[in-house]
């Protein structure tokens, strides 16, 4: 029951996104725009820094801000036409709603990254294929960790009057660990180091994700009641 409810919520969110493509389009172009602004702001070629130096930072700023957009949206769509009440009334455990949303958000963020990463490396002249397996692992684990906490906080902020402002304010400081570990692991990975050099960072991020998934499952009930 709980298992299928989880997948139903996740499938519902993804189907909705596939039909409207609202979040995806804005998150994708927003991410692209961040890359361009970065390039203008720092002009890496003239200061002599390569993608292996700055790629981690660019990637994680892009990922955190586009994730916030999509996390926000995943609950805002429920607020319209009072769908949130419908989700609360679902004859399933509230944690299934949390886990479904968490899964859908992670898939969504990774889908955006799957497009942005190749474009980003192309723009900054870096051979992505050389580091792809390691980098993919870093992105998947850290993006999931970010979503675990982000889904819980998005559910909280959507309940308030100014949810758009509140979510980044809540999430960015609290998600400091995954961002720090993500940037560091990405930098080591882009520099061509092997898994031994950054594997512990990925493991730490996985722990972060696990801790806040458990916290989300336990506390989501209190967020949804009204």
């Amino acid at each position: 029951m709980g298992h299928s409810a989880l997948l139903t919520v996740c499938a519902k969110d993804l189907r909705q996104e596939l039909r409207t493509r609202e979040s995806f389009t804005s998150a994708f172009f927003f991410s692209l725009l961040v890359q361009v602004v970065f390039s203008f702001a720092f002009d890496f070629q003239s200061i002599g820094l390569g993608f292996e130096d700055v790629g981690g930072g660019i990637l994680w700023i892009t990922l955190t801000f586009s994730s916030i957009l999509s996390l926000q949206n995943s609950f805002l769509i429920e607020r319209e036409k009072n769908c949130l009440a419908g989700l609360v009334l679902c004859p399933c455990d509230p944690s299934a709603v949390y886990l479904g949303k968490f899964l859908a958000n992670s898939i969504f963020v990774l889908a955006v990254q799957a497009l942005i990463l190749p474009i980003s490396t192309l723009l900054f002249g870096y051979d992505l294929l050389r580091v792809l397996p390691g980098l993919a692992m870093v992105v998947v684990v850290n993006a999931a960790g970010f979503s675990a906490l982000g889904t819980l906080f998005a559910a909280i902020s959507v309940r308030t009057r100014r949810s758009e402002l509140l979510l980044p304010l809540l999430l960015l400081p609290a998600a400091t660990p995954v961002v720090i570990w993500g940037v560091k692991a990405t930098r080591l990975c882009l520099a061509g180091r092997d898994l031994g050099a950054y594997g512990y960072l990925v493991a730490l991020s996985a722990c972060f994700g696990a801790i806040f998934t458990v916290a989300g499952v336990l506390l989501f009930d209190y967020v949804m009641e009204d």
Partner: protein, 238 residues
């Protein structure tokens, strides 16, 4: 205000009078020790004395965040608004004292380290923590009603505190260490008189925190009582 609230109000008043007397005396004694009794540190000079305020403020800030964590759990378990009032009061005090830490730190760091700020583990953690709990207070102010504020804030109060050691650990991996003022083994530790003054200041600040907490909790109770009266009045008028 119900009967239990009135009893609580009365007890808080008593505690306040006692704490006010104790803090009033201890604060003067602490100031005397910090500025008259304890000698200046050899290498850092007179500026090192700020440490007797800096570290107790940090301790009290963490104590505040811990109180937020505990009362948030108790609130979610019992749903008695008084626990939320305690959490709110402790969060405000935590943010206040964390701000004092962030203010006194650079004053010390400028002459000793030669820089106002450095992205070192404890400094960065303190800054991030301040932001977590400022967000907690912003969330409270933007909730739609009292019960919702209590419920949502409790969740953030619990998650935020779980995050504290993780943030510290992550920043430590990112950057280096804080100067170690105490050493467990003999040798380069603290002079006995310095340690005594330090412990005195820790005690004073802890009692000061409890005094402010009691005052703020009582204010919260009165605010709730006033809101209830207003609501009663408006429904009676309509």
């Amino acid at each position: 205000m119900g009967f239990r609230m009135e009893a609580l109000d009365r007890n808080l008043r008593r505690a306040e009078i006692l704490l006010f007397g104790a803090v009033g005396i201890l604060m003067i004694v602490s100031l005397y020790f910090v500025f008259k009794v304890v000698p200046s540190e050899v290498t850092m000079g007179v500026v090192q004395r700020i440490f007797y305020f800096h570290v107790p403020s940090a301790w009290v800030a963490f104590l505040g965040f811990f109180v937020v964590f505990l009362s948030s759990i108790v609130y979610l378990a019992t749903r008695r608004l008084i626990w939320d009032t305690v959490a709110h009061a402790a969060a405000e005090l935590g943010v206040l004292f964390c701000g004092i830490v962030l203010f006194t730190g650079p004053i010390w760091a400028r002459p000793v380290w030669g820089t106002w700020w450095t992205w070192e583990a404890r400094l960065t953690t303190t800054l991030v923590l301040e932001m977590v709990y400022v967000a907690y207070l912003v969330l409270r102010s933007q909730a739609e009603n009292r019960d919702q504020a209590a419920r949502l804030a409790a969740v953030v109060g619990i998650v935020g505190f779980l995050d504290v050691p993780i943030i510290y650990y992550s920043v430590q991996i990112w950057r280096g260490h804080h100067p170690i003022v105490f050493k467990s083994s003999g040798g380069q530790g603290l002079e006995p008189i310095m340690l005594k003054t330090f412990m005195l200041c820790m005690g004073t600040f802890t009692l000061f925190f409890l005094l402010l907490l009691a005052l703020r909790v009582r204010l919260g109770i009165l605010q709730d009582a006033l809101a209830e009266l207003k609501e009663h009045d408006s429904t009676a008028g309509a």
